[in-house]
C-alpha cells in the first residue's frame, strides 16, 4: 500500500511545475506527509494543465468574468450602467455567480412532451466534446496528453459540439426547439467547412498539427501576419460557431425564443447557456495557438513554468474580450443570408487561405 502511494508520488514528483514564486511554500508543504501527495498532484504538469490552467479552474473564472464583462461592456456602449447591485464595491462583478446560484435553486421543469432521459442527460453529455479538447491543448511545458495531432483533435471535438445541441433541440420536442435545431444544423455546415479549411491552411503552413511546432514556427512572425486570410475566416467562423450576434441565428430569442434551449429551466438552462461561452473559450485557445503565438511571451523568471499557461490564458481572454463587442454593434442576419456568407465569401476566402498556406511553406 505504502509502496503504491510512493510510486504514484514518484510519478507526480518527477514532472512538477517549477514556479520559483511559490517555491518556499511548496517546499514547506512537501515535507508534510499526505499533504505532499496532494501538492504534487496539483503541480503535476498534466493535472495542472487540465484542471488548473488553462483547464477547468480558470475556465470557471473565465465564465464568471466574461458574462459580467460582456454585460458591463454592452451597458457602457448603450448608455447604461449594467449589473451593479450584487456586490456594489466591485461593480457587480459576481453577478454571474449570483445568477448561477439562482439557476441552481430554481426548479428544473421537464415538460410532458420531452423525451425525458435525453432531455435531462444531454446538457451534461454536451460537456464531453466541450471539455475534452482541454486535454490536448498544451500550454508551455504543461500539457494533459501530448500528441503531435493536437490541433486536429481539438478541431474534431469542436465539430462534435453542434451535434449535442441538435440533439438537445430534438429531445425538447417543441416547435421552436425544432426550428432552432434545424437552424443550428444549417449554421454548422455553413461555418464548419471554411473553419476546417482555415485550420488546415495553418497546419500546412506550420508543417505539423503539433501545437508545439506551430508556436515554435511563430517565434519570429505571428500566424496572423503569416496568413491573414485564414485569420479573418477563423474569426468569422468563431462568431458563427458560438452564436455571437451577427450570426446569433439558432438561438434568436425574439424569433424562436432561444431555439434548442427554449424548454430548459433551472440548472439545466444554466448548463446549456454556458455551452456557447465554453465553446468560445476552446476556439479562442486554438485561435491563440494558431495565430497569436500561443504561450510565447515575455518570460518572467519568477513564474518559471507558469509563464506558458499564463500567457496563453491572458491572450485568450484578450481575444474574447475584443470579440464580445460585436454583440452591441450588429443586428442578427437571417438564416439564408448567413448561409450565403458561409458558402460563398467565407468558403472562397478559406480556399484563398489554403493557397496562402501552401505557398507560405516555402517562405518559412
Amino acid at each position: 500500500m505504502f509502496d503504491v502511494i510512493n510510486y504514484i508520488y514518484g510519478i507526480f514528483r518527477s514532472n512538477m511545475m517549477d514556479i520559483p514564486l511559490i517555491a518556499p511554500i511548496v517546499d514547506y508543504l512537501m515535507k508534510i506527509p499526505l499533504i505532499n501527495i496532494l501538492v504534487a498532484l496539483i503541480l503535476w504538469k498534466p493535472f495542472f494543465a487540465v484542471i488548473i490552467m488553462p483547464g477547468l479552474a480558470v475556465l470557471t473564472l473565465y465564465l464568471l468574468y466574461i458574462v459580467w464583462y460582456e454585460r458591463k461592456l454592452t451597458a457602457r456602449i448603450q448608455w447604461r450602467v449594467g449589473p451593479i447591485e450584487v456586490a456594489r464595491p466591485i461593480r457587480g462583478a459576481i453577478q454571474a455567480l449570483a445568477d448561477g446560484i439562482r439557476y441552481f435553486f430554481q426548479e428544473a421543469i421537464v415538460h410532458r412532451e420531452a423525451h425525458r432521459p435525453y432531455y435531462v442527460q444531454l446538457p451534461i453529455l454536451a460537456f464531453i466534446p466541450v471539455l475534452l479538447p482541454i486535454m490536448f491543448i498544451p500550454a508551455g511545458s504543461a500539457v494533459g496528453i501530448y500528441t503531435p495531432y493536437s490541433i486536429q483533435l481539438i478541431v474534431a471535438f469542436i465539430a462534435l459540439i453542434p451535434i449535442t445541441i441538435v440533439a438537445i433541440g430534438w429531445a425538447s420536442n417543441s416547435r421552436f426547439a425544432y426550428i432552432g435545431s434545424v437552424r443550428e444544423a444549417f449554421m454548422y455546415f455553413a461555418y464548419e467547412i471554411p473553419f476546417i479549411i482555415a485550420v488546415i491552411s495553418m497546419i500546412f503552413l506550420y508543417g505539423s498539427g503539433d501545437a508545439y511546432v506551430a508556436v515554435e514556427k511563430q517565434s519570429a512572425i505571428p500566424g496572423v501576419l503569416l496568413n491573414p486570410i485564414a485569420f479573418v475566416v477563423y474569426i468569422i467562423a468563431m462568431l458563427m460557431a458560438t452564436s455571437r450576434l451577427p450570426f446569433e441565428i439558432p438561438e434568436a430569442d425574439q424569433e424562436i425564443a432561444f431555439g434548442p434551449f427554449v424548454e430548459y429551466s433551472g440548472i439545466l438552462f444554466g448548463l446549456v447557456m454556458v455551452l456557447a461561452y465554453e465553446k468560445l473559450y476552446i476556439m479562442a485557445l486554438l485561435f491563440t495557438i494558431l495565430f497569436l503565438g500561443g504561450w510565447s511571451g515575455i518570460y518572467c523568471p519568477l513564474l518559471g513554468d507558469l509563464n506558458g499557461p499564463l500567457w496563453l490564458f491572458i491572450k485568450t481572454i484578450i481575444v474574447i474580450s475584443v470579440l464580445v463587442i460585436v454583440r452591441s454593434i450588429y443586428a442578427r442576419y437571417r438564416l439564408d443570408q448567413a448561409l450565403r456568407i458561409g458558402w460563398t465569401s467565407m468558403l472562397a476566402l478559406s480556399i484563398a487561405a489554403l493557397v496562402v498556406g501552401i505557398l507560405g511553406v516555402w517562405l518559412l
Binding site: 448608455w79 434568436a252 430569442d253 425574439q254 424569433e255 452591441s328 443586428a331 438564416l335 439564408d336 443570408q337
Partner: protein, 410 residues
Amino acid sequence: MDEYALDIPVEPPRELKSLFIPIPPDYVEETYKSDDFLVLVGPQHPGSGHMRLIVRVRGDIIQEVIPDPGYVHRSMEKLAENRLYIQNIPLVERPAIMDAPNLNLGYVRTIEEALDMEVPERAKYIRTMLAELGRVGTHLYDAAILAVFIGHTTGFMYPFGIRELICEAFVRLTGARFTSSFIIPGGVRRDVDESTLKWIYNMTFAMERRLKSFERIFIKNPTVIARLQDVGVLSRDEAVKYGVVGPFLRASGVEYDVRKVEPYEVYEELVWDMPVSDAGDGYARFLVRVNEVGQSLSIIRQCIQEMPEGRVISDQIADRGDDIRGSFYDSLSDIVLPPGEYTTLTEGARGTIIFSIVSDGESNVPYRVRIVTPGWLYLRGFMESLKGERLADLQAIYGSFGYFPPEADR
C-alpha cells in the same frame, strides 16, 4: 427547385385542440395534410407582443398568417358610454401610451366640432407641439422595438434613452411623463411658461445630436439594411387595397397625411414636408418614420418660435377668466353634445385615428364612442405583407410596422 411530396400521414399536434385558436379545425387538418406546419407565435413570446400570430409555414416560407388579437382588449368603447365626456379623456388616451396627445386631441376635437367651439390660437400651438412630441416619442419607441426584434440591443437602448427627453418635456409641460390628459375641450389645461418652451427648443437640438449616433449604429448598419430591405413589400395598390394608414401608407408611395389633407390645429400655418417613399419594404417604412422625426422636431421649433400670446382656454368654457384651474369640473362636467354623430380624423404617429361620437342630445354621457386606431386599420396590410417571406422575417416586418397590440385592441 423540385419539391418532393412525402406521403406520410401527419396528425395535427394535440395541443392545437386544447388551445383556443380562432380557426376552424378543418383548416388545421388541411394544413397538416398539405405538408405545412402551424407555428403559434405568442401571446407569450419575446417577438409577438400581446397577440397571437398563427403562422402557416412550408419549410421556412410563410404561407399565411392569421392574427389573433384581443389579448389586451379593455372595452374602451363600452366604458366610454358610462362616463362624462371629460372623464373619457384619460380613458381614450390609454391605447398607445406614447401617442397619448394625438388620441387625446382626436377625442377633444370631436367634442369641439359638436359644440362648435373656438380654440384660442395659443392653445392650438401648444396642442400641435404636444402632438408632435408624442409623434417623436412613438417613432422612437417603435424604432427601439424594431431594433430589439432584429437582435440589435444597442438600437433598442438608444431610442429609449433619447425618448427620455420627450418624457422630460412632457413632465415640464404637463406634469406627467406620457398620459397627461392635457388637452381639454376648448383649449389646454394651463399655460406654458417661457423657460419651458426654451428648454424644449434646446431639447430638439440635443435630440438631433443624439439621433446622429443612433443613425450611425443602427439606421446605416449593414446588417440592419440586409434584414429590412426588400422584406415585407407592399406595393402602392396593395397598400391602398388593404387600407394601410399613416407612415406605412406613405412608405408605399401614397401621399396621404391627414395633417396635409384636412389640416387641423396649426399645421396649415407651419412649413413641413411629408416624407414619402416608393419602395414599400420594411426599410422604407422605417426610414419614413425616421424622416418624420426630423420633420416633427422642426414643427416643434416652429411652434415655439411662432407661438402668440393670449388665452389658452376658450371663453365659451372659462368665462370667468383665462384659467380653467379651480373650476375645471364646474365648467366642463355638464357638457351635453347636440344630437347627431360627429367624426374627426387625426393623424396619429402610426396613422389615421378616427373618433366618432354619437350623442342623443339629452344625457351628459356619450351614446356611443367609436375609436378606430391605426393599428387596427393596418393589421390586414401587415398580415398580407408577411406572405411569402421567411419565418425569421416575421419579427422584422412586425417591427417595421411598429404594430402595437394595445393600440389596435383598444
